[in-house]
Every structure is written in structure tokens, then in C-alpha cells.
């Protein structure tokens, strides 16, 4: 039984690998409504223009990237990754240098441009609340960490990444401009106070499900997932107070089979047109500085980069440097 299962799994893997090895470009992202928009406005538009077919794969998996690069059999050509990972992986030699004669970086938000990566889109962790399920919605991170005032389950991003640690410190009264270097002891002490009331979400789709069903009537979310959820008819309230920004990046794993096509794809995906359309569809902000002019002004004003008043920028450099250390501690704390 077990061996048959193994073989079945193996043959499936082989089939999938075979597919990806064809001449098409393979784009990998995180799935859900976000990747749907990436497919429509980046990949399909790219295919129409260049005649290069784009195969969608996912979800992004850092272990797989490492395995592919080490084995010299890289089946992903362009991957959407978290910004801090992009910096770290670039330094670790897992990524191709981007060809900036193909990709016009003068138009791109310089905060997210490195030799190995450019921004993909720009998002905020915000406080989301299902208004129909509760009498009052938390407005600040301190509210979200206050189980007296706001009893019930709250949901946070499960994986070690910029966002939750910062939120805990802000809730505990650390000033937004004094967050880094992160006081991890203090952050975990604060997190301890609500640990029993946390339900973790491990994918954007799950976060939407938890909020819509009021399994967790409030929590910390990617802002675009709330936009998408509101469109399905759920009464969502979003608080932008101290929204914590981070960006995804586009990278090319080292040894990607269709490197030239990958550069062209990234050029198209980061163009003002593609970025404007993607932002309109998802509620995430564009990383192309010219995209604003192509977007509806009212919608533009609702995107994360326009919520600058109390905004907190997660420090990707700090995270890239301390990613392993924080991660080890984070998962150990979760398992306690």
C-alpha cells in the first residue's frame, strides 16, 4: 500500500516536472486571488505580446528553490517571493542577477530594487474586522492585542515574516521609528498575552475564510485580501492605523532555463500598465512609479502607499540579516 502510494506520488511528480521542462516560461507565486490577477494582467498580456507561453505554478516554496538550484535542475523561471527572502537569497547565491538593460529600473520604486530582485507589488498588514460578527472593531494594534476590550479569537500570519513581531511591539507601546533593531524578548512577551486567542492563517485564502466565517472576527491581514473579500459581500472594516508595509519581489532562480524570457517577463510585469491593472484588481500598491497616472484617482487613494500617515515600513535589510535567527525563535515559541 505504502510503496504503491510512493510510486503514484513519484509518477505524478515526474509528470509535473516533464510539463515544466517544456519551452514555456514558468511563473510561480502564492496562488489565490493574487496569482489570478498576476496571470491575467502580467502573464496573459506577456504571452499576447511576445508569443511566449507562461505556465503558472505554486505556491512559492523556498525549500524547492534551494533544491532546484543545488540539483542544477531549475524549473521555475520567475518567482514571486517575500522581500526579505529576496535579499537573503541573492546574497546566498541562489538567484540570477537581473538584466537591467531589459528591465527599466528607473521607473521602479528604488526601495525594492536590488541586483537580484525588483518589487512585485507592495502591501500592508492591516487590521481587518468582520463588522457583522462583532459589536466593535479594533482600530489599533493595541486594540487587537487587548483581549479584555475585544474578546474572541484573532488571526495572524503563521509564518516567520515581517509583520506580527512589529505589530506586537507597536501594541506594547514601542514608537514606530524605534522598532529596529527588534526587541524580540519584548515582542514575544506581548504575544504570550494573547497566544491562547490566536488562530493562525497560513495562506491568504485561509485568512479570508477565517474572517468571513467569523471563526476569527478580526486580525492582521494582507490589505488586498480584505479588498477581495469585501467584493464578495462580506462587511469588512479595515483600519490602516500603523499599517505595516512590506513588498513581494520578483526573482529568477540561478540556472533558470529560460533566463532571457524571464527578464522580458519581469520587464512586462513591472511596466506601468501591468502594475496599474494589477493594483486596480487586487488593492495592492504598484511598484512602478508611473502606474498612478493610469489609475482611477479614488481607487488610487485607497492603496497602501497612500496610507502613509501612520505607516510603518518593515525593514527588509534587518529581516534579511536576522531571518534565520528570528525564524528559529518564532517557530519554537509557536510550538510551546
Amino acid at each position: 500500500m505504502k510503496s504503491r502510494l510512493v510510486i503514484a506520488l513519484l509518477s505524478t511528480t515526474l509528470l509535473l516536472a516533464g510539463n515544466a521542462a517544456a519551452e514555456d516560461l514558468v511563473f510561480t507565486s502564492w496562488g489565490g486571488t493574487t496569482q489570478d490577477a498576476q496571470k491575467t494582467y502580467w502573464a496573459d498580456a506577456f504571452t499576447a505580446e511576445s508569443n511566449i507561453a507562461v505556465t503558472q505554478d505554486g505556491p512559492t516554496d523556498y525549500g524547492k528553490i534551494k533544491a532546484m538550484v543545488e540539483a542544477g535542475n531549475v524549473t521555475w523561471d520567475v518567482v514571486d517571493v517575500e522581500g526579505d527572502y529576496a535579499v537573503q537569497a541573492g546574497n546566498a547565491g541562489l538567484l540570477e542577477k537581473l538584466d537591467f538593460s531589459v528591465i527599466d529600473k528607473t521607473k521602479l520604486d528604488p526601495r525594492f530594487v536590488t541586483d537580484y530582485s525588483v518589487g512585485s507589488f507592495y502591501y500592508s498588514f492591516v487590521i481587518g474586522c468582520n463588522k457583522d460578527a462583532v459589536e466593535a472593531c479594533p482600530k489599533t494594534w493595541a486594540d487587537l492585542f487587548d483581549t479584555q476590550k475585544f474578546p474572541g479569537k484573532r488571526t495572524f500570519y503563521k509564518w516567520s515574516a515581517p509583520g506580527v513581531i512589529e505589530a506586537a511591539l507597536l501594541a506594547d507601546g514601542v514608537a514606530a521609528d524605534k522598532l529596529y533593531p527588534l526587541d524580540l524578548d519584548r515582542a514575544f512577551r506581548k504575544l504570550d498575552t494573547i497566544k491562547a486567542d490566536i488562530v493562525w492563517w497560513d495562506s491568504g485564502a485561509q485568512s479570508q475564510q477565517l474572517l468571513a466565517s467569523a471563526e476569527a472576527p478580526f486580525g492582521s491581514f494582507w490589505n488586498g485580501r480584505l479588498t477581495a473579500l469585501a467584493e464578495t459581500g462580506v462587511t469588512v472594516e479595515t483600519s490602516w492605523t500603523n499599517n505595516i508595509t512590506a513588498a513581494d519581489s520578483l526573482v529568477v532562480p540561478k540556472g533558470a532555463k529560460n533566463k532571457d524570457a524571464a527578464m522580458k517577463f519581469i520587464a512586462q510585469a513591472t511596466s506601468d500598465q501591468a502594475q496599474a491593472q494589477f493594483a486596480t484588481a487586487t488593492g495592492y500598491a504598484p511598484i512602478n512609479l508611473d502606474a498612478s497616472t493610469l489609475m482611477d484617482a479614488e481607487l488610487r487613494s485607497s492603496l497602501p502607499d497612500m496610507q502613509a500617515d501612520t505607516q510603518v515600513n518593515a525593514d527588509m535589510g534587518y529581516w534579511a540579516e536576522h531571518r534565520d535567527e528570528i525564524g528559529t525563535r518564532w517557530y519554537a515559541w509557536q510550538a510551546k
Binding site: 505504502k2 510503496s3 510512493v6 510510486i7 513519484l10 516554496d61 523556498y62 525549500g63 524547492k64 534551494k66 479569537k153 503563521k158 509564518w159 516567520s160 488562530v199 493562525w200 466565517s213 467569523a214 471563526e215 534565520d324 525564524g327 528559529t328 517557530y331 519554537a332 509557536q334 510550538a335 510551546k336
Partner: protein, 283 residues
């Protein structure tokens, strides 16, 4: 584990049959054994040669808790599966065959349904705002929703459901093989129904219980999807820990070390099974 099964079978047959197994063995060797060995080798080579990964793994209370939790979950699931599965197996064994065939088909069909789909279904059913809680609250049986998911309860329900066929099928075979005349003889000698069960049926079906229990326990040890989705982070099991090391922390040395611990435990249990419950030896 798969290969051990295969070579075990070879020994009991003539050497000539080995050739037929060769393609399967090669396939497993290349795509299963070699990659697994490579990961295990990394556990003593990364980040530098030595046993420091094992020292960290076995010296940390956090990881020890994950080990203990893995055994605890596997144990609870095994126990509940036996308690629920035994009556079903018994019923299947004594039912008229046309009925038992239908029940058996239902049990086996559920095994063919996608694991992920089944687990998500449990998630929707068991959550605080799910069907189970809503129904119980609607009936006025409870005021507050019960915590049925993101904890040990959720993991146990989800995994027991998946493991039940693996208990029911071997047990059914063993119970069917028990001569009904023995039970009649016990009754004739004055044994009550309970006594018949405790002193005759149960001892005779013990080999089936042991086989089913060991199978479920070993399978549960390495389970990933169900505990990841239905358990909380405090119920983490070993397989999740391995995935976390490999995927999120990209620390393959530690991942390999955790995987080896799991493999050693599994093989040890498998050895116990071969030693004490080998049907070929007629025990």
C-alpha cells in the same frame, strides 16, 4: 520502509522471483532511498560536519515537546481508532455478505477521496461557526461554541477518520476467521454476553488489534496534512517540524536530523511488528 517490505517478501520466496521485483526496487532506490539518504547525510554535514544538529534537536525542550506530542497524538488516534473500529469490524464480520459488501464499499470509497478535501471538510464542520457547533447551540445543548479545531480534538477527529479503514480491515479478517462455534460453546458453558466478549472474542482477535494498532500508530507518526490543518501550532508533530526546517527556515541540516529521528522510530516499530506479529510465522 517500502523496500523493507519488498525484501522481506523476497526471502520467503525462491531467489528466482527477485528479477520481477527489480524494476520496482530500482525505482524506489533511485527516487526514494537515494534522496532520503542525501538528506540524512546533510544532517551531519550542514552547516559544518558534526553532530551539532542532533545536539540541538535532542537538547531543546521545544523539540522534545514536538517528539512527545507526536507520540501522544499517534497514541490517542490509535486508541480511538481501535475503540471505534472494533465494533464496525465485528459487525462486518457477522453481517450477511450482501450487506457487509455495501458497508465495506462505503469505507473503501472514503479512502479514495482526496485527503486534502476530506480534511478541509472537517475544518468547515468543526470550526466555532461550523455545522457541528451551530447545531449543538441551536438545540440548546451548549451556550458557547466548543473548541473542536486547531487543537488536539481536531487532530484526533480528523486523523481517526482517516485511519479507521486501516483498523477495520485487518480486524475484520481476524474476527471472520474465528469459528462461531467457539462463541456458542462459551455460551453453552454459561458465559454471559460480556464474558463471551472479554474472555473469548477479544483475546482471539488480539492479533488483529495489534496489527491494526501498529499500522495506525506508525502511519500517524509521520502524518503531515491533517495535523497541520486541524491542529494548532502547539500540537505540532514531527513531520511538520521537518517541513518547517526544509521549507521556511531552509535549514536542511536540522530537517535531515528530524527526519532521521522519525525514520529510526518508525523502523524500530516496524521491527517490533516483524518480530511479534508476523502472519507468515503464524503468530
Amino acid at each position: 520502509m517500502a523496500v523493507t517490505v519488498a525484501t522481506g517478501a523476497v526471502k520467503t520466496k525462491r531467489e528466482g522471483t527477485f528479477g520481477y521485483l527489480l524494476p520496482a526496487l530500482l525505482l524506489i532506490a533511485f527516487f526514494f532511498i537515494v534522496p532520503v539518504l542525501m538528506l540524512l547525510v546533510r544532517s551531519v554535514l550542514e552547516p559544518e560536519p558534526g553532530l551539532q544538529n542532533y545536539a540541538v534537536l535532542l537538547g531543546s525542550t521545544t523539540y522534545l515537546r514536538v517528539f512527545l506530542n507526536t507520540f501522544m497524538v499517534a497514541g490517542v488516534v490509535t486508541l480511538v481508532s481501535i475503540v471505534i473500529g472494533y465494533p464496525v469490524a465485528w459487525l462486518l464480520a457477522i453481517m450477511p455478505e450482501r450487506w457487509s459488501r455495501i458497508v465495506l464499499a462505503i469505507i473503501i470509497l472514503s479512502m479514495w477521496t482526496n485527503l486534502l478535501a476530506r480534511t478541509y471538510a472537517w475544518m468547515v464542520l468543526l470550526q466555532r461557526t461550523g455545522v457541528v457547533n451551530k447545531t449543538l447551540m441551536g438545540l440548546g445543548l451548549i451556550d458557547q461554541p466548543l473548541a473542536l479545531v486547531n487543537n488536539l480534538v481536531g487532530v484526533t477527529i480528523g486523523m481517526t477518520y482517516i485511519m479507521l479503514p486501516f483498523v477495520i480491515l485487518p480486524l475484520m479478517g481476524v474476527i471472520r476467521a474465528i469459528d462461531p462455534a467457539i462463541l456458542r460453546a462459551a455460551a453453552l458453558c454459561g458465559a454471559g454476553r460480556l464474558q463471551c466478549f472479554w474472555r473469548v472474542l477479544l483475546p482471539l482477535s488480539l492479533p488483529g488489534i495489534a496489527a491494526g494498532a501498529l499500522m495506525v500508530f506508525v502511519m500517524s507518526l509521520g502524518y503531515f496534512v491533517t495535523p497541520a490543518l486541524l491542529g494548532g501550532t502547539a500540537n505540532m508533530m514531527l513531520a511538520e517540524l521537518v517541513a518547517q526546517f526544509v521549507q521556511s527556515l531552509v535549514n536542511w541540516g536540522m530537517g535531515g536530523a528530524a527526519a532521521l529521528v522519525l525514520l529510526v522510530v518508525t523502523l524500530a516499530l516496524y521491527a517490533v511488528q516483524l518480530r511479534y506479529f508476523n502472519p507468515a510465522r503464524g503468530t
